[in-house]
């Protein structure tokens, strides 16, 4: 399974990319397992707070992923 990861602010700075394709995820992958895969690639992300949105809607960490999902890690917002 393949999902598209979107990264913002401090997450993007640390990873050095604003978009990442995660491929070869197992069929039972969740938001949490996608995060674990990202942290393997970039240990500096460990422990950073972030909400997660799948296809523009906030979801809990145990939300299962589906092929083609857009998964966004959202650091604490600071607009306004």
């Amino acid at each position: 399974m393949r999902v598209r990861i979107r990264l913002f602010a401090g997450w993007r700075d640390r990873l050095g990319e604003e978009e990442v394709l995660l491929e070869g995820l197992p069929p039972d992958a969740t938001v949490e397992s996608a995060r674990a895969r990202l942290e393997e690639r970039c240990p500096a992300l460990r422990g950073l707070p972030a909400a997660v949105a799948v296809n523009l809607v906030q979801v809990p960490p145990d939300r299962p992923l589906r092929e083609g999902d857009e998964v966004a890690f959202l650091p604490p917002v600071s607009g306004g």
Partner: protein, 139 residues
Amino acid sequence: MSASFALAADPIDPVALVEGVRTDEDGALATFLGTARVVSRGRRVVRLEYEAYEPMVRAEMDRILAETRERFHVGAIRVVHRLGVVPIGEASVGIVVAAPHRADALGACRHVIDRIKERVPIWKKEVFEDGSEWVGEGA
């Protein structure tokens, strides 16, 4: 009874922001500008930089504007948020609400800015003379 939202790379023109929002049914027009302060948590700020998850910002703003209309009896609402560099003194966000009565105009204005700060995926980087920091990250 329109509600509009825009993300803008250019400075917010307060005259254009307000233009056409009020009708003769409205007895109140409330405007809020959030502006870039020179001091933040005791440090001197040189400029701000904003970025957004744009499609989700639009989806959240739609929900916020709909919710605002449910809670307050308002006419038109207009919201603009800057992206990219915002120099000190310029507005990063502008909100205008027209309403028949003052409590709705001011209350809706407050509601919109509070919800933006709480849940719209926009991030602000404070750039200091000796570094920079994404606000709220606690880095």
